[in-house]
């Protein structure tokens, strides 16, 4: 699974996710990547999120929308909301994975509870971060 979230100069947020799914999957199994609210979500009022993880749990936890909702209804920061969902809600269900996100102010988050996540971020000044391991 691959994903991207972006904030543009007009203050618009967007999120996208693309995947080949799960090895050896049968019966037309679909994971969270194409499910709006689970694998992908964007709302100019809060944040843009793209997920990668154990699809069944990311659907049940509605991960991407949940992070936006925690910001919207509980006033959490993007970092706090991402931590709450990825380090608590998803593992409590038995799932694992991670998200990338950016909020309306350009704050960037890469939160995951697995050994690693291929990830990179770049801000307006061109500061680049690339990571693979925890």
């Amino acid at each position: 699974t691959v994903g991207c979230v972006a904030l543009d100069k007009n203050g618009n947020l967007a999120a996208g996710t693309s995947t080949g799914g799960m090895t050896n999957k049968r019966w037309g199994r679909i994971g969270d990547a194409p499910i709006i609210g689970a694998g992908t979500y964007a709302n100019n009022a809060t944040c843009a999120v793209s997920s990668t993880g154990w699809g069944e749990y990311f659907i049940r936890a509605m991960v991407a929308h949940d992070i936006s909702a925690l910001m919207d209804y509980k006033g959490m920061s993007l970092q706090e909301a991402a931590k709450e969902v990825i380090q608590k809600k998803v593992p409590d269900l038995g799932g694992d994975g991670g998200i990338i996100a950016v909020d309306k102010d350009g704050n960037m988050v890469m939160e995951f509870n697995t050994e690693g996540m291929y990830r990179a971020s770049m801000d307006a000044s061109g500061n680049l971060t690339i990571g693979i391991y925890k």
Partner: protein, 181 residues
């Protein structure tokens, strides 16, 4: 930040000890190539939607990631691809699931969002829509990579072993075979 971009290439049990320096360098290089495509679009005043689509295209076109070329295989030994995109400006969204011949599924998801009255299309209908929208259609073999196919064979073998092992638990010497129930 006035603008910003973040990407991922998947999460999981990615351990330093399991990755050669060459592989690590290849992943780092591809991640940097992809994020610079999107950053340039944003820096030049482009839209976040364009940045998301073009950045993901780079990752879909690389065999390194489980998306587009390099996708994993289903039990039937084929590649079924899914994608979704969302516009924070108006909560518009598009998604496609289970396509086998659309080269860049994220482009299809965006076409569903912008050129259809729906949010999600799947399977043959999604493929039909992709053709009507003039998106690049490829032979399913385009998505094949040796590494992912071998991964499928490993998973199947381990599954069969398990069944074999379970089956041996029911071995009945009188019929010299296994019987269940």
């Amino acid at each position: 930040n006035e603008f910003a971009i973040v990407i991922h290439g998947g999460a999981g049990t990615i351990l330093r000890k399991n990755m050669s320096p060459e592989d690590e360098a290849a992943y780092n290089a591809k991640l940097e190539e992809a994020i610079r495509v999107g950053h340039d679009i944003l820096k030049n005043g482009g839209s976040s939607l364009d940045a998301v689509e073009k950045t993901i295209n780079v990752l879909e076109n690389s065999p390194l990631f489980n998306a587009g070329k390099g996708a994993v295989f289903t039990n039937a030994g084929i590649n079924e691809l899914d994608a979704s995109i969302m516009d924070g400006k108006n909560l518009d969204a598009g998604a496609s699931a289970g396509t086998k011949t659309v080269k860049n599924p994220i482009n299809l998801a965006r076409a569903v969002m912008e050129k259809s009255p729906h949010v999600m299309l799947s399977g043959e209908g999604a493929e039909q829509f992709a053709k009507e929208q003039g998106l690049e259609i490829v032979d399913p073999s385009y998505f094949y990579t040796e590494a992912r196919f071998k991964a499928l064979e490993r998973v199947k073998a381990s599954e069969e072993n398990e069944t074999a092992r379970d089956k041996s638990a029911f071995y009945d010497p009188t019929i010299k075979d296994s019987k269940f129930g």
